[in-house]
């Protein structure tokens, strides 16, 4: 047997500790499931010898060869016993199965047959009955465990001390350590219900929801990005907030279930219920060009079944996508019948990931007032556009070949100077050669190209001076050049886009106002059109397209030596969305069309080295669709050409200008308001797609059996009276008495939150290959208590999530010390019996939140759009579509709880990933908990933790200037250091102080990490030395361990 198998197929504790008689569920099913059922189980396609051992009726029938697999009570005449003890070619399981039975397992099977081969239905599929606690007084949780411990000759350990207790409960319930004052208050509270009060206080906090939601979000694979390919961001956070509120407000779990699976189908669905239905849209989506839509629809559907199955059924139905389940009674048909429940979800295989149509069905979360305002703005914009179009069409009818031969080209300028205000270095390449890389590599004359390099500030303002010579100018043009070296979509020096928040121009100290801004369009940043660059609002900006045309309010007349100063303000909240390469142009045509700035055409136009001045564009300032359109008869023009001609005509016809400007302005007002309203992806229903059983998940198969929505056959049926069953029917069934799995799966996972391991540790598999529960009666009691509270249940309701948690946390079992003894370790090394508490490192988010909390940096704000804590530059280097670099949040949003961190599936934030947060590409009902050098590097060197250390030092110093080290330690650990610990910290402090006094620059460097303010009154060396100490404290095992 391989070591791997030995390690992971370890015999269940309950079996090793068990006494006679043999129990099928406890002793036999795990053996059979692991070694026999692959070939002699439910999956007919891999069944051998036409023999099934999972059903007694089948196993006790004579085979064709006359032998009988199992003769109850008579192992000597039972073929399976003969075969497992055989040698050579006849041995079962055979060599090719790579499975072996131990002697003990063989003996157990033999005994079981001798005792009559009694089968039991699998425990998890039996109805949840409510076991009677062995002792009626007190918390039944304790009664069940104590009875079991007594059988094992064990007892509960002593209660943990109050500091430990409060830290444990605070971490478990709120994900934050308690303050020293809270600990002291609890220590001093001698009242008998001190613990109850503490638990109720913690559970009433909104932090409770922030902690409890984390693992639910793992399970439903909530993320802020789509997960495939470009992995672009989508608006999902209102669904996350829905989950948070459900935990905070203790929404009944049956309601929680219905709303998520079928909120959109509920009668008179509320906005909240429609938000909840975003659950159905949390699977990964792909926008990769060239995908085969059917293939991806199959992927999305299968993902939904896997998730539903793990979260509500604690089952591994994913196995049945390709074949009947090998161990549990899920047939392949069950998998596809479950998938059929979701066949009504309106979606496309290729899910657009940018622009107005991104992510399909969305719900605008406008307040009634916002909706009213939006309607008014929309009406106004539509009216302005209509007026313009009508007039334009009338005029156009009289001008059949309007375009003529007028030269509308831009005059590219060779700037005389270019400066940046905030640190970028701008260099002008006029006649100099410049290298560029876009679709290859080239080196050519700059012709006025301005290239930014050097430091990359979060914001900057570029000032460019032009000396165009004598002339009359109608418009200013700005052409952004793509380059592979620019991470921001090839255009900006950071971020995933550029944002030009405002442009202004002046000459001789006089402003040159713009009245119209137009850009070529890519339909990506539809919320950031050209007009945003001249609206006087620094919070909005232009991101859409490559070339911007800005029309002057009145013609600008220059003399030979006139200088026009152009300022490009880049003040976006998105950091480093600053332009990398650009050229500036002027136009002296009546109107110049900016659509020509398209990089492809531009580079074609510029391939001719002999072109002296790049003032001639390939289409002479006229869009290609326009010239082509005019070549055709009016009634032969394509729709696209007609639109292009109308746009061009409106843009270039003098008498239409007031109407055009009004239309553009009102459109922008409407757009700006529309995009300020939050939205969420949601579920909309449509004609259900046909769902077929796909053998081996072959999505190209169109010949197989069509299935209707149905729950797994062996678990019952959804009664609809012939109507096609819906997601709402499914949800109702999940939380009905007919389904024994939901309550058990949920109760088991809840237990894990408070003891570190489930009552059965296989959280995702309550089936026959999962571990049998160590405390089966306790699990069933909890499941029953969850559905129908009766113990200490004043104010509780059915499916009460908080009641379940409270019942567990108020138990004696929970309050035990985690300290073990050699004897207990010997008997129960993994603490499955719960004769003590467990210790484990807190979750990734909590590691982060703890550092922020003890330093005082944590910004306590419930819900809202995702935030982006600091992450390393280049972290998103391997992503594309768009190319991007990480852009951290501003101000308070840098210091929010980890649950709000933007969940980027393909590159999860390192502080989450390093500490085992799942990427949420796939449903995860359990987190691993590792201990790696990368975690050490993160806690030691990640600027998030370095800044927290510095602010932590400031806090300790302010609170206790005489003894900040003790203060800091107490803030983090809720106790004072021992003499020995204090000596170590003092030693580190003395050493650090010496070094920082000798090297003040080093002190300044350390203190400059992070943007949180720093008191100027404290000497740099002193604060830096104390920061070294607080940094050590944040790195302590104790700080990040829940005990």
């Amino acid at each position: 047997m391989s070591v791997a198998r030995f390690l992971f197929a370890a015999v269940a504790l309950s079996a090793t500790l068990a006494a006679a008689p043999v129990s099928f569920n406890r002793d036999i099913r795990p053996i059979m499931s692991d070694t026999c059922l692959r070939c002699h189980g439910p999956d007919k396609s891999s069944r051998m010898a036409n023999l099934r051992l999972d059903l007694r009726e089948e196993a006790t029938k004579a085979l064709r060869n006359g032998r009988t697999p199992i003769v109850p009570g008579d192992p000597d005449h039972s073929e399976i016993i003969t075969r497992i003890f055989a040698t050579g070619a006849r041995i079962m399981p055979p060599e090719f199965a790579h499975k072996t039975l131990t002697d003990a397992q063989k003996q157990t099977l033999k005994r079981w047959v001798a005792e009559g081969a009694v089968y039991e239905g699998h425990w998890a599929y039996q109805p949840v009955r409510r076991p009677e606690p062995p002792v009626l007084a007190g918390n039944p949780v304790d009664a069940f465990i104590e009875a079991r411990l007594a059988r094992e000759g064990l007892k509960f350990s002593a209660e943990a001390d109050r500091r430990t207790l409060l830290r444990r409960a605070s971490f478990d319930l709120t994900g934050l350590p308690p303050t020293p004052a809270e600990v002291t208050a609890f220590q001093n509270d001698k009242s008998p219900d001190a613990w109850v009060k503490v638990v109720d206080r913690l559970m009433a906090s909104s932090h409770y929801a922030e902690k409890q939601a984390m693992h639910w979000l793992d399970a439903v694979r909530y993320a802020d990005s789509a997960g495939f390919h470009g992995d672009n961001l989508w608006p999902a956070w209102p669904y996350r907030d829905y989950v948070l509120k459900a935990f905070r407000d203790n929404k009944p779990f049956d309601q929680f279930t219905r709303e998520q699976l079928a909120g959109d189908l509920m009668p008179n669905a509320t906005v909240e219920q429609k938000i909840a239905s975003a659950y159905n849209r949390m699977n990964r989506y792909s926008a990769e060009g060239g995908l085969q839509p059917k293939e991806y629809l199959a992927k999305y559907g299968a993902d939904r079944v896997r998730t539903l199955s793990a979260v509500w059924l604690g089952s591994t139905m994913g196995c049945a996508e390709c074949h009947d389940h090998k161990f549990d009674p899920f047939a392949s048909k069950d998998f596809y019948s479950m998938k059929a429940f979701f066949a009504d979800i309106k979606e496309t295989g290729l899910m657009p990931d940018r622009g107005a149509d991104a992510w399909g069905s969305k719900l605008l979360l406008a307040t009634p007032e916002q909706q009213r305002q939006l309607d008014a703005l929309t009406a106004k914009a539509d009216a302005a556009r209509r007026e313009l179009d009508e007039k334009a069409k009338a005029l156009l009818a009289k001008a059949p070949n309007y375009v003529g031969t007028a030269d509308r080209s831009w005059h590219w300028q060779k700037p005389v100077s270019a400066r940046a205000a905030a640190g970028s270095v701008l260099k002008i390449y006029n006649d100099e050669m410049v290298e560029s890389s876009i679709n290859g590599f080239e080196r050519k004359r700059g012709d006025g190209l301005i290239v930014a390099s050097g430091p990359i500030p979060s914001n900057d303002t570029y000032t460019v001076e032009l000396r165009p010579g004598a002339g009359k100018w109608t418009a200013l043009g700005l052409d952004l050049h793509s380059d592979e070296v620019l991470p921001g979509n090839g255009l900006a020096r950071g971020a995933d886009r550029f944002v030009l928040t405002e442009v202004d121009a002046e000459m001789n100290g006089r402003k040159l106002p713009f009245v119209l801004a137009t850009a070529n369009k890519t339909d990506v940043h539809v919320d950031a059109p050209a007009m945003a660059a001249i609206d006087g609002d620094p919070s909005t900006g232009w991101s859409e397209g490559h070339m911007l045309g800005l029309r002057f309010g009145s013609t600008v007349t220059t003399a030979a030596d006139s200088v026009i100063t152009v300022r490009l303000h880049q003040d976006s909240p998105i950091r480093r969305a600053v332009i990398g390469r650009f050229r500036v142009a002027l136009s002296n045509a009546e109107y110049s069309w900016p659509y020509l700035g398209d990089s492809g055409k531009q580079s074609k136009a510029r391939t001719d080295e002999n072109q002296a001045v790049l003032n001639v564009d390939v289409e002479h300032g006229v869009p290609f669709d326009v010239t082509e359109g005019f070549k055709a008869e009016p009634d032969k023009r394509t729709e696209r050409q007609q639109k292009a001609i109308l746009d061009f005509f409106e843009f270039t016809t003098p008498e239409l200008q007031p109407l055009l400007i009004a239309a553009e302005q009102t459109a922008w007002e409407r757009t700006r308001f529309f995009w300020s309203i939050p939205r969420v992806v949601t579920t909309e229903t449509t004609e259900p797609a046909i769902t077929r059983i796909l053998p081996r998940a072959d999505w190209m198969n169109e010949t197989t059996e069509i299935v209707q929505p149905a729950v797994p056959a062996f678990l019952g049926k959804v009664e609809t009276g012939g109507r096609r069953a819906t997601r709402l029917d499914l949800a109702n069934w999940l939380v009905s008495a007919q389904n024994p799995l939901t309550a058990r799966a949920y109760a088991n996972r809840t237990w894990r939150e408070f003891f570190g391991m489930g009552i059965t540790k296989s959280l995702d598999d309550l089936g026959s290959q999962g571990e049998a529960p160590v405390h089966p009666e306790l699990l069933d009691w909890l499941a029953s208590e969850f559905v129908q509270p009766s113990y200490d249940a004043a104010g509780a309701h059915a499916w009460d999530m908080k009641h379940l948690v409270r019942t567990i946390v108020l138990s004696k079992a929970y309050r035990q010390t985690s300290m073990s003894t050699p004897a207990l370790d010997e008997k129960d090394p993994d603490n499955r019996l719960i004769a003590r508490q467990s210790r484990f490192r807190v979750d990734a988010e909590v590691v982060h939140d703890t550092a922020l909390q003890v330093s005082g940096l944590l910004v306590d704000q419930f819900g809202g759009p995702p935030v982006k804590p600091v992450a390393p530059a280049g972290y998103l280097f391997a992503m594309n579509f768009p190319k991007r670099d990480y852009s951290e949040s501003r101000g308070a949003d840098l210091y929010r709880r980890g649950v709000y961190t933007e969940w980027q599936r393909t590159f999860l934030h390192p502080a989450l990933l390093n500490f085992d947060a799942p990427t949420r590409e796939e449903c995860a009902v359990n987190r691993t908990n590792s201990n790696t050098p990368l975690q050490a590097l993160d806690l030691l060197n990640d600027p998030i933790f370095v800044e927290a250390s510095r602010v932590f030092a400031q806090r300790a110093l302010a609170a206790n200037p005489k003894n900040p080290i003790d203060e800091a330690f107490r803030l983090a650990e809720d106790r004072l250091p021992t003499a020995q610990e204090r000596r170590i910290l003092l030693g580190l402090h003395a050493e650090s102080l010496k070094q920082f006094r000798a090297d003040p620059k080093a002190a300044e460097a350390l203190l400059s990490v992070g943007e949180a303010p720093r008191p100027k009154a404290v000497a740099a060396a002193d604060l830096a030395a104390l920061t070294a100490v607080t940094r050590a404290i944040l790195n302590l095992h104790e700080t990040i361990t829940r005990n």
């Binding site: 790579h98 890389s437 391997a878 590792s930």
Partner: protein
């Protein structure tokens, strides 16, 4: 009972089902350095290779302009593809388009003792062809980049399965003391056709995260957070870590929790990594002759620099080194873009083989060259090729693999692998085989199954083994 024993016991009883179980698992596996034993101990059979360098050409290189010579296709250039071949087959961006033959865009020439036909853009690879095994009959199941990468790396399209580097760390452990055993490097190309690569591709998935690949970066810290914070020098860092560890050891004295000792060990290791990694990734100290051989410019983050770094990592015992080189997604301009790709990879790939050979390391290092799929013999947009899963080429060299051979073939169009078809799973089985692992026996308990890490199918390609 000693702590190590306790630790081992609890590990043996732990599954992956809970927090304490995993803790124990990690405790056992964390020694005082990153070197560790794997679970395949002893090996299933004698190993020929100890480590793998996978030159992963991301985006899907055209086999038709690299190593699969198709003179017939050249003759049929511009003619419709026979429908008998393409009907009912998966297709990506050419869905609904006319399928027209598109001849090889570059000439081929003969190289090596057997006169192997390779594209003439790759003369350096040609110069080492006698050390290569050219597999011209690879196939995969996934036609879009993201899932195709995922199946190539993990054997599955469902996220959360371990990647191949994790298999090796889990199975074989690592011999690198101060370095991760599974290192990932990414370089970009000049053609601007760079598909994204998700971190999932080097994830440990359901295995403990200590088996995950660690990405070395050419921008910023070479390994995330490997550098001290500003103002903290090596001495202060060491003193800080010593203080943390001393405090943690006091905690251990009270709690006797082996997990604390693991934490102490991880901090020591982190510090060792801090001292060794920056030095390691600095290839500027290599002799000029070596830099020239690879065509590497220190600090440029190029594929060539990464190849040189891969050799250094291999020397230090890193088990699995995966170099992603992007920009092979030639939907358009395959002719010109292939020239870029050849400039970027030809010399360096050959240099790595030669360098390993001259150091005696090619005998126990398996070098692999290939991407997530190949490209269509049909043209896309008149000058490009679409994604293609039914036949493409991989190169293998070194430990356990026959040298100077080719294996398998596509049809005359270069469309479907026809002879000796090698699936992704076969490739995985073969790779594991030369490393001493029977892929059918490398499993982990997952969702109730003894899940084979490589997935359920796959046969070793015995014909290419030494």
């Amino acid at each position: 009972m000693t702590n190590t024993e306790l630790c081992r016991r609890s590990f043996l009883r732990a599954g992956l089902g809970g927090i304490s179980g995993s803790l124990a698992l990690n405790s056992l596996l964390s020694a005082q350095n990153l070197a560790s034993k794997g679970v395949v101990n002893p090996l299933h059979h004698a190993a020929k290779a100890k480590r793998v360098i996978f030159l992963y050409q991301a985006g899907g290189p055209s086999h038709l302009e690299t190593f699969d010579y198709k003179p017939q296709l050249a003759k049929l250039d511009g003619k419709p593809m026979p429908e008998s071949l393409t009907k009912g087959q998966q297709i990506a961006q050419l869905q609904g388009k006319d399928l027209v033959c598109f001849g090889p865009q570059h000439k081929f020439a003969r190289f090596g003792k057997n006169g192997e036909q390779l594209c003439e853009l790759f003369p350096h690879i040609g110069s080492v062809v006698d050390d290569l095994c050219i597999v011209r009959s690879m196939t995969t199941e996934q036609i879009n980049h993201d899932p195709a990468h995922t199946i190539m790396n993990t054997g599955s399209i469902i996220p959360g399965r371990p990647s191949m580097g994790s298999w090796l760390l889990y199975g074989l452990g690592s011999e690198a003391e101060n370095l991760p055993g599974f290192v990932v490097l990414v370089s970009n190309g000049k053609g601007g056709q760079m598909q994204p690569i998700a971190a999932r591709q080097w994830s440990a998935g359901l295995l403990p995260s200590k088996f995950q690949g660690v990405k070395f970066n050419s921008i910023g810290d070479p390994v995330l957070y490997i550098n001290n914070p500003p103002g903290v020098n090596a001495k202060l860092q060491e003193q800080s870590i010593n203080a943390v560890n001393a405090m943690n050891k006091i905690g251990y004295g009270t709690l006797k929790d082996p997990e604390i000792l693991t934490r102490v060990a991880q901090y020591e290791l982190a510090f060792k990594m801090q001292t060794s990694v920056p030095d390691l990734v600095d290839v500027s100290k290599e002799p000029k002759s070596v830099l020239d051989m690879y065509g590497a410019n220190p600090g440029d983050g190029s594929f060539a620099s990464n190849c040189l770094l891969a050799r250094k990592l291999a020397e230090r015992g890193v088990r699995f080194i995966q170099l992603y080189h992007r920009d092979w997604d030639h939907h358009g301009g395959v002719k010109a873009n292939m020239e870029f790709k050849a400039q970027e990879t030809d010399r360096a790939t050959a240099a790595l083989i030669k360098d390993l050979k001259q150091r005696g390391m090619l005998d126990d290092t398996l070098v692999i060259w290939g991407g997530e799929f190949g490209r269509t013999p049909m043209s896309q947009g008149g000058d490009g090729r679409d994604h293609h899963i039914k036949g493409f080429t991989y190169l293998m060299a070194g430990g356990g693999i026959k040298r100077g051979i080719s294996y398998g073939a596509t049809d005359d169009f270069g469309y479907a692998a026809q002879e000796n078809v090698v699936t992704v799973h076969d490739f995985h089985a073969t790779m594991l085989h030369v490393l001493g692992i029977d892929h059918k026996r490398l499993s982990v308990k997952f969702q109730g199954l003894d899940a084979r890490l490589t997935g359920i199918s796959g046969d070793v390609v015995r014909d290419i083994l030494v």
